[in-house]
Symmetry: C2
Amino acid sequence: MRYPKGVKKQYEKLVSYSNRGMCLENDINCSNEFYLINDIAVIYKKPTPITVNKVDYKGRNDAVIKEAHYITPSTTDYNGIYKGRYIDFEAKETMSKTAFSLSNIHKHQLDHLSSIYRHKGIGFVIVRFNSLSETYLLEIEKMNDFLANNIRKSIPITFFKEKGYLIKDSFNPRIDYLKIVDLIIKENENEK
Amino acid sequence: MRYPKGVKKQYEKLVSYSNRGMCLENDINCSNEFYLINDIAVIYKKPTPITVNKVDYKGRNDAVIKEAHYITPSTTDYNGIYKGRYIDFEAKETMSKTAFSLSNIHKHQLDHLSSIYRHKGIGFVIVRFNSLSETYLLEIEKMNDFLANNIRKSIPITFFKEKGYLIKDSFNPRIDYLKIVDLIIKENENEK
């Protein structure tokens, strides 16, 4: 990334604020880059949606956004293709050692993942329990099973251990979640 | 969309500028909404990527972007899932009656679509010849065939007529491009 002159200080301020919970995102972005470079999969993080109120047009290709707001995304952060399968997921971090609170994830993001599952894609969440240094992948259909049978607003880590998959840290890719997707594809094929 | 007070005039200026070539985009967005509501497919336009330089944080959920720039997207505008298939495409309009100039589309977007094809997704461009009121869908592999055998920097409309598919306008969805995707899926299955 390149920054225009004179905004560095302001930018650092931004980073120190927004960096909270960015490690998982960075790990996933780096893993996706590894997958892309090695032609294993094509999976990208979608840009954060904003609504623009004011723009300065200096020229055809020189627009500076002067006022904009972040808006609630209607979908998840990541999607793409792997072995001909449509992949879609959301990634979240939590400091809790015992449970993942559902307040961390929007209802319409769960709905989105459910419709991906209905259309025969592979939809899941990746949740990192920071205090434990453990990262789990949980398929949306298993998450929905939990939600259908429980009234509590958080998913205990025991559920992730039982029904999800632990993603082991590695050097490159940092978070090799496609190894887990391979297991899911295999299971799906066995069920047929 | 809601606009804060006092920016309306500025916003109108923006619309009148940026509305150029937005009709196809609007038609596709409306068609995607139709597909979504009727649970036919889950296909979204990705947000336009920007890089943010200055943000005012008034509170945890109240950030106003004060300076940002549009950046070149590394992928295409649209992707999603239909009948278990990964769908990915770019949509462009041209005023030309004879050819689609390749200057309208970034090289890395074509590379992206080619890698989608390699990973067994369905990648294409939708091109509307505004002066003719004709909209075509052309698969990336056919576009690549053209590029491999021609040095010219534009694809004549005759090539779209021969190797692409005309998408007929309809009321709802406005641009029923999934009808064409059905044909492509059928053809791919026949080839196996």
